[in-house]
């Protein structure tokens, strides 16, 4: 294919060509930059772009990391991870102008392997959302259908990968924010085990649930990026001192005989086309020698309710730091008066946070408040124990659990924005992995209608990312879904 754009390649293929001297890193970056200029105005995957800084980074990587696993590869970063000197706002007015004085650990690791960091993928404000419609910087569109959402909250990252406006991306996932947008945009998304990847420099949403992970064009790239970002970090005391395997080398291990657990799914109005495609995917896995076994995860139906207690409680506490004092936005005092400190807090937070952030902070404050703590927060933590137990018992009978990633195809822009509960229910299958702390991956499994991407979710026991990647890789090799490019990528 003489006219093939280098930006259309997965990372592992581009990397091979660079090593073999058949692709110049400068040409790869120029192609990505040209695509951003052409398509970001319609897709709005990125909040801001600065091609000159990308080129300067490439120069410095070529000098400093000539042997890097990701030398010359542009990797996009969600707007909630700290990069020295780059504005980072979590898609919120309240952090306007904030330029961190340190790198997130994942950023330092990518740089050490020679990657070109592409900042500021759009996101729901503070990662509160499933559609990338709540960012103060405006909405991101789905590259398969511009009238539909890309999913969220890592919608900018998933959109950029699916439209070839980058080579790969990092997202963060608190209740499905990597996997659901990956499913909606027809790409691969992996939420690692809690503690697998350092959260140092990730602006916190819910500290017991948040994880950073890759969003990529194929499964091999997800394994590659995970192998770079995973591992213990002294700066994050919740990062686990567990050895990181060579995920890429393990991809082609045999999958024959693995047991796929199929839970009874809650009755939540799963789209019939989604169910049909997931059923077909099961048959593909069986044809590869895997077995399916029924498993019960009875408390799966309580995941959304539990999550919206636990996650909002933690968010209300984490977001208390945004008060206009040390960084970011500060509201002006009322006309004619100096105002006092408390008034400054209230006005800053009223003007700085969007509607969904206010909703979650107030909900979280309520479930933690005197008189309601036992009925809501403590109850949520106890049900969380039951959900975790359900998975422990399920994994005694199977090697991984399979569900749809999302109950529906990508929905229309605006469709759920005024109905928070409906929006929250779009995360019903992804939330459980965060509550249980286990790894989960979404891989494309077909299209609803003509071209609306659908994702298959695989969940595994803690620290078994390698097994998820291995099964997803075998599935990907047996199917063609990952080769299909979005209309935006084809244009």
């Amino acid at each position: 294919m003489p006219s093939e754009r280098p930006s259309s390649l997965p990372i592992h293929q581009a990397r091979q060509r660079i090593s073999a001297g058949r692709l110049a890193p400068g040409d790869l970056l120029n192609d990505v930059v040209a695509r951003m200029a052409q398509h970001n105005p319609s897709l709005h995957a990125y909040i801001a772009l600065d091609p000159d800084r990308l080129r300067a980074q490439l120069e410095s990587r070529l000098r400093q990391s000539p042997q890097g696993k990701l030398l010359g590869i542009p990797v996009t970063v969600k707007d909630n991870m700290c990069i020295v000197g780059e504005e980072v706002t979590c898609g919120s007015r309240i952090l306007a102008g904030f330029r961190p004085p340190y790198h997130a650990t994942v950023i330092a690791r990518l740089i050490a392997e020679g990657a070109v960091i592409v900042p500021r993928a759009n996101m729901d404000e503070f990662a509160f959302g499933s559609s990338t419609e709540t960012s103060s910087a405006g909405i991101t569109r789905n590259p398969w259908d511009l009238d539909r959402v890309p999913g969220g909250s890592s919608g900018g990252s998933a959109c950029a990968v699916a439209a070839d406006l980058t080579m790969g991306a990092l997202g963060s996932d608190t209740g499905g924010s990597i996997r659901q947008p990956a499913a909606f945009c027809g790409v691969v998304g992996l939420k690692p085990t809690y503690g697998r990847v350092s959260r140092f420099g990730l602006i916190a949403f819910a500290s017991s649930l948040d994880q950073i992970g890759p969003i990529t064009k194929d499964v091999t790239d997800a394994a590659l990026l995970l192998s770079v970002i995973a591992g213990h970090d002294p700066n994050d005391s919740t990062s686990a001192p567990v050895e990181v395997p060579d995920y890429v080398a393990q991809l082609s291990r045999p999958v024959k005989g693995l047991r796929i657990g199929l839970p009874t799914l809650p009755m939540v109005g799963i789209d019939p086309e989604v169910m049909k495609l997931v059923d077909e995917a099961k048959e593909v896995l069986k044809s590869l020698g895997m077995e399916t076994v029924p498993v019960e995860i009875p408390n799966l139906r309580y995941c959304v309710a539990t999550y919206y207690i636990v996650a909002t409680a933690e968010a209300s506490s984490n977001l208390a730091r945004f008060d206009g004092v040390q960084y970011g936005y500060r509201a002006a005092p009322p006309a004619g008066r100096g105002g006092d400190l408390l008034e400054m807090y209230r006005r800053t937070r009223a003007e700085g946070f969007g509607a969904e952030a206010k909703r979650r902070i107030i909900l979280g404050t309520y479930v933690l408040s005197h008189g309601y703590y036992d009925a809501y927060y403590l109850k949520g933590l106890k049900v969380r124990t039951l959900i975790k137990r359900d998975f422990d018992q399920a994994f005694a009978r199977c090697d991984l659990v399979l569900t749809p990633t999302a109950p529906t195809p990508p929905f229309r822009i605006g469709e759920k924005l005024d109905n928070p509960l409906q929006m929250y229910l779009s995360d019903i299958f992804t939330i459980s992995a965060n509550l249980a702390g286990i790894p989960a991956l979404s891989v494309p499994c077909g299209f609803a209608g003509k071209d609306l991407p659908i994702g298959l979710q695989l969940m595994g026991p803690a620290f078994e990312e390698g097994r998820l990647l291995q099964v997803a890789y075998a599935y990907e090799q047996a199917t063609e879904w990952h080769r299909r490019k979005s209309p935006a990528a084809a244009a």
Binding site: S208, P234, S237, G324, G339, A350, K358
Partner: protein, 102 residues
């Protein structure tokens, strides 16, 4: 709102005060209705028997983590202070905290 509400506008006003967020009258009305819908959904958890169940605030078996007591470089104060919306020398400047007239 109906008398069956799980959360009232007065509750929401009070919690917004605790959370240090001023709400407009329109925001208060809309938010109260939305939070009532969400909390009504959440009350389904009351049906789950959890009397003998320990809460899980965290999935990892965490304990305190220490490091050797050696000094390390800390951020340059200038890098941090430059982020403040208002500063006075090496201090962050804020509106008055104490009302001296009282």
């Amino acid at each position: 709102m109906s008398s069956m509400s799980v959360i009232t506008t007065d509750d929401v006003r009070q919690v917004a005060w605790l959370a240090r967020i001023d709400l407009s009258p329109e925001e208060l009305q809309k938010l109260s209705a939305q939070l009532d819908t969400i909390l009504s959904y959440v009350t389904q958890l009351q049906a789950v028997p959890t009397d003998s169940i320990e809460p899980t605030s965290h999935v990892l078996p965490l304990s305190n983590i220490t490091r050797p007591d050696r000094h390390q470089p800390s951020p340059n104060p200038e890098d941090v202070l430059t982020l403040a919306p208002a500063r006075h020398g090496n201090l962050v400047k804020v509106p008055k905290v104490v009302d001296v007239t009282q």
